[in-house]
C-alpha cells in the first residue's frame, strides 16, 4: 500500500474514471433528454477515438520523454473534464437537481476555462525560427489577453442573470479580439514592447 503512483499512472486512472463517469451521466442525460445529451456524448466518444489514434499512430512519446507524455495525458484529462462536466450538468438539469439555465451557463464557462488554460501556457512556448524578441512580446500579450478575458467571462457566466450574461460574454470576447489585433499590429510595427 505504500507504493506511490507515478504522475502518468495517476493521469491514466483519472482518464478512466472520467470516461466511466461520462458514460454513466451520459446514459442518465440520454434517458431524460436525448437531444441535449447527444452533442456531449458524441464529444465523449472522441476521447477513446483520440486515445486509439495516439496509440495506433505512435504519437505517444516513450518513457524517455516524461514531459511530453504528461502533456498528452493532461490534454486528454482536460478534454475528459470538460465533456464529463457537461454531461453531469446536462443530467442534473434534466433531473431538475440544478436550475435549467446552468446547462447554458456551463456552455459559457467551458470556452472561458479553455481560454485561461491556453493563455496561461502560451508565453512558455518556444517558437523556433521567429524573432524571439517580437515573438515573446506577442506571446505575452496574447497570453495575458486570453487569461484576463477568460477570467472576466468566467465571472460573467457565474454571476450575471443568464439573459445579460450571454450578451456581456459576447461583448467581452469582441473587445478582447479587437484589443489583441490592435496590440499585435502595434508590436509588429514597432518591434519591441517595454
Amino acid at each position: 500500500m505504500n507504493a506511490r503512483l507515478d504522475p502518468i499512472t495517476l493521469r491514466k486512472i483519472a482518464l478512466y474514471i472520467l470516461i466511466v463517469l461520462g458514460v454513466l451521466f451520459g446514459a442518465v442525460a440520454w434517458s431524460q433528454r436525448p437531444e441535449a445529451a447527444l452533442l456531449w456524448l458524441t464529444g465523449m466518444l472522441t476521447l477513446p477515438v483520440a486515445w486509439a489514434l495516439v496509440a495506433i499512430t505512435g504519437a505517444l512519446p516513450g518513457p524517455e520523454k516524461p514531459d511530453a507524455r504528461r502533456h498528452i495525458y493532461n490534454s486528454l484529462v482536460g478534454a475528459g473534464l470538460l465533456v464529463t462536466g457537461a454531461l453531469i450538468v446536462t443530467a442534473a438539469a434534466a433531473l431538475e437537481t440544478i436550475p435549467e439555465d446552468w446547462s447554458t451557463r456551463f456552455g459559457m464557462l467551458v470556452p472561458a476555462l479553455v481560454l485561461i488554460v491556453m493563455g496561461n501556457v502560451l508565453p512558455k512556448k518556444i517558437e523556433p525560427g521567429c524573432s524571439r524578441t517580437r515573438g515573446l512580446a506577442i506571446q505575452r500579450l496574447l497570453g495575458w489577453t486570453f487569461v484576463v478575458t477568460g477570467l472576466v467571462a468566467l465571472v460573467i457566466g457565474l454571476t450575471l442573470p443568464i439573459a445579460y450574461a450571454k450578451t456581456a460574454g459576447l461583448l467581452v470576447y469582441a473587445i478582447a479580439v479587437l484589443f489583441a489585433v490592435i496590440a499585435v499590429v502595434r508590436i509588429r510595427s514597432r518591434g519591441v514592447i517595454g
Binding site: N120, K124, R132, L136, W144, V147, I193, G194
Partner: protein, 101 residues
C-alpha cells in the same frame, strides 16, 4: 511549483526576469546590471533554468537567455515583488555550496 517559488523569492532573480521581459539577453549583458560575482550569477541562472522560467540558447561562446514564464508565474512574481518576498539565507548558502563543489 516549489522550484518556481524558490526562484522568484530572490530579488536578484526577479530583477533578471524583469530585464528579460524587454528582450532576450546574454549572460554578460545581464551580469552588467548586478554587483555580484560571476559564479553567483551562474547559480541564479541555474535556479531560473531549473524552474523552467528562462530558456538558454548557446551562440558560440555566449549564452542568450530569454523569458519562459506562464501568465500565472508572472502574476506570482508580481505578488512576490509587491510583498518584497525574500529567500531564506540558508537556501542561498546551499545553492552556492552546490555550485562551488
Amino acid at each position: 511549483m516549489s522550484s518556481v517559488f524558490k526562484a522568484i523569492s530572490d530579488p536578484t532573480r526577479r530583477k533578471v526576469l524583469q530585464l528579460l521581459r524587454k528582450r532576450p539577453m546574454t549572460a554578460g549583458e545581464l551580469a552588467e546590471h548586478f554587483d555580484v560575482s560571476k559564479p553567483t550569477m551562474s547559480v541564479h541562472f541555474k535556479v531560473l533554468r531549473e524552474a523552467d522560467l528562462i530558456h538558454a540558447e548557446k551562440h558560440g561562446k555566449s549564452i542568450t537567455y530569454s523569458l519562459k514564464m506562464s501568465v500565472l508565474e508572472e502574476a506570482l512574481m508580481g505578488f512576490a515583488q509587491a510583498f518584497n518576498m525574500e529567500v531564506r539565507r540558508d537556501d542561498e548558502d546551499e545553492d552556492s555550496k552546490e555550485h562551488n563543489s
